[in-house]
Amino acid sequence: MIVLEKRPQPSKAWSYATPLVAVVATMLFGGILFAILGKNPVEAIGTIFWEPLFGEFAFYYRPQLLVKGAPLVLIAIGLSLGFRAGIWNIGAEGQYIMGAIFGAGAGLAFYPLDAFYIFPIMVIAGAFGGWLWAMIPAFLKVRFGTNEILVSLMLVYVAEQMLASVSLGLLKNPEGFGFPGSRNLQAYDSAHNAELIAGSGMHWGVVTALIAVIFAYVLLNRHMLGFHIRLTGEAPRAAKFAGVNPARLILFCLGVSGALAGLAGMFEVSGPSGVVSIDFNVGYGFTAIIVAFLGRLHPVGILLAGGLMALTYIGGEIAQSQLGLPAAAIQVFQGMLLFFLLAFDLLTNYRIRAARSEVA
């Protein structure tokens, strides 16, 4: 008989090892999945993980890694603060959309004016849009005790309808021959989130994501508020005695994660995407949940996990065009990763022992 014995302290070694074990297990089972789909598993896994980094066209794919990774890291950093304290914002997708709408809206309001202050105003507007959207579940939780999981998720569907509404109405390109979607911000210099170094993939969103990682690291390790976040998650009763104000924590965690998701949306719409359109959002807000857990809710871990997840996006696209691997297979692959991670986390908190047969 096998029994589980709770460790007095979570194992440090296993907490570093589980993400790696989970990635290996996902590759293994992902390979089986690809084999069932009739693809050569070794070739498919190789295409996803090797091709974007070291393949023939790596010079093209490597910058894409930053473009895809930045929004994931930016959103996941925000989410991780709340997840640590047991505050579950799972509506980042909605906050991302609202950030894009507010940011693009602010920029387009100035069209065709050429001025240096337009982009900074868009950045502030984007962060504000995401913050505002996250403040709805935060306020309702603080004031009425409403479940933030359900409210933040419902607001994703509301935001998607808002997006449809503005791309067909308010922000629609007046010179777009009646097609849905806004003016292309890439063609409007003052509002364009251009690459800082041409061909590098490095845009303001990547810079902001790196700043967010440092900010979160300092907050969690060197600041009282960060200590309170960790304390609330690890020992809620002790946090209560230590005088942690739960309302303040909820407003802060949801507010920061909303603002960061809003920034991610704004940088995306003014840069790589360029256009506010009905299908603007592609699920970064949900994938970021996987990134946050895969990075063990630790800022540096999230940076690495964001890179890995960006790799599966790009590698997945390559596998799609070269091997005909369905797009949904990559989604399943990403979902599996979270599964294995949660399952192997057992080893961090529990010790597996063979039970002795004698009667105690």
């Binding site: 589980l4 709770k6 579950w88 799972i90 709805i136 309702l140 009425f144 005790g145 409403t146 479940n147 999981i149 359900l150 409210v151 998720l153 419902m154 607001l155 569907y157 509301v158 309808q161 808002m162 449809a164 509404s165 067909l168 109405g169 949900f286 949940i289 996987i290 857990f293 369905p326 797009a327 949904a328 297979a329 990559i330 989604q331 399943v332 692959f333 990403q334 979902g335 599996m336 979270l338 599964f339 949660l342 399952a343 192997f344 986390d345 057992l346 908190n349 529990y350």
Partner: protein, 306 residues
């Protein structure tokens, strides 16, 4: 705009159809939560049920086999949740999210070759004599069989929880798992059964959308119904008959906004389409003041440390 085009009898009849997927998923989740487990993967189990039911009924030509497959599909996915939360003792919130993310991707993968196909129809039951009563007949007695299964299931869950020994044990496990364990009840085993039941119900609800309500297969077609079902359990204060009432209320809102869209009301389509989600939030706010009826062990991990 022409509101006169909306036929009230048809409206109420289609309200019952719109409410059924919600009801099936909510009744399943209600049992799961009564056992003290919070499974946020309802949306994922529904969509997997929707595609398994659709695929099997297209392949075999039998909607009945489709519904059975949907229940099995939902239960199999919930088995993953069992492995994570009851065996590996993982966090229930994170595991439920994992289930939904995985289910959405997996269903899209399975459903690739089923886009644009029409499933075999189940046909409506016309109960002799009473289905011919004007007004009441078309509203209550001319529906597909699964709709009545949903109502019967509600009654069965209510009676089981209230009057039987099994129901009492289930509630005991949900209220205080340590005490139930001390009394010799197998907490984990009971919770596993409840989770599987919830998965099967969610699967049925999903298949109802793809086989009867719509009826066709599109990616992500459950569009948040699973999440509304979770809100519905809170709305119902964990009481089966109130879940039925709530499902009809939300079904009514959905049908009404669709009818208003069709009638060409001056409100933009997008605002009408977001109304069910906004009303869900409002209802949650109104009801969140009273948490006393929630099972006391809801969402807590049980580990017997002898």
């Amino acid at each position: 705009m022409d509101l006169g085009e909306i036929n009230p009898v048809l409206l109420v009849a289609s309200l019952m159809v719109a409410a059924t997927p919600l009801l099936l998923a909510a009744i399943g989740e209600l049992v799961v939560e009564k056992a003290g487990v919070l499974n946020l993967g309802v949306e994922g189990m529904m969509i997997v049920g929707a595609i398994s039911g659709f695929a099997i009924s297209v392949e075999t030509g039998s909607p009945w086999l489709g519904f059975i497959a949907a229940a099995i599909g939902g239960a199999v996915l919930s088995l993953l949740f069992v492995l994570l939360t009851q065996v590996a003792l993982a966090n229930q919130v994170a595991s439920g999210l994992a289930l939904t993310l995985f289910g959405l991707g997996f269903s899209a993968l399975l459903g690739q070759s089923y886009v644009g196909i029409k499933p075999p129809s189940m046909g409506d039951i016309h109960i002799p004599l009473i289905s011919d009563i004007p007004v009441i007949g078309p509203i209550l007695f001319q529906h597909d069989p699964i709709l009545y299964v949903g109502i019967a299931l509600t009654a069965a869950v209510w009676a089981t929880l209230k009057y039987t020994r099994v129901g009492l044990i289930l509630r005991a496990v949900g209220e205080n798992h340590d005490a139930a364990h001390a009394l010799g009840y197998k907490v984990i085993k009971i919770r596993i059964m409840a989770i599987l039941f919830g998965g099967a119900c969610a699967g049925l609800g999903g298949a109802y959308i793809s086989l009867i309500r719509v009826p066709q297969w599109t990616e992500g077609m459950t569009a948040g119904v699973g999440w509304i079902a979770l809100a519905l359990v809170v709305f119902a204060s964990w009481k089966p008959w109130r879940a039925l009432l709530g499902a009809y209320l939300f079904g009514g809102i959905t049908v009404l906004q669709l009818n208003l869209q069709a009638a060409g009301v001056a409100i933009p389509v997008e605002y009408l389409a977001m109304s069910p989600y906004i009303i869900t939030i409002l209802v949650l706010v109104i009801l969140s003041a009273d948490k006393s009826s929630a099972p006391a062990s809801l969402g807590r991990t049980f580990h017997a440390s002898h």
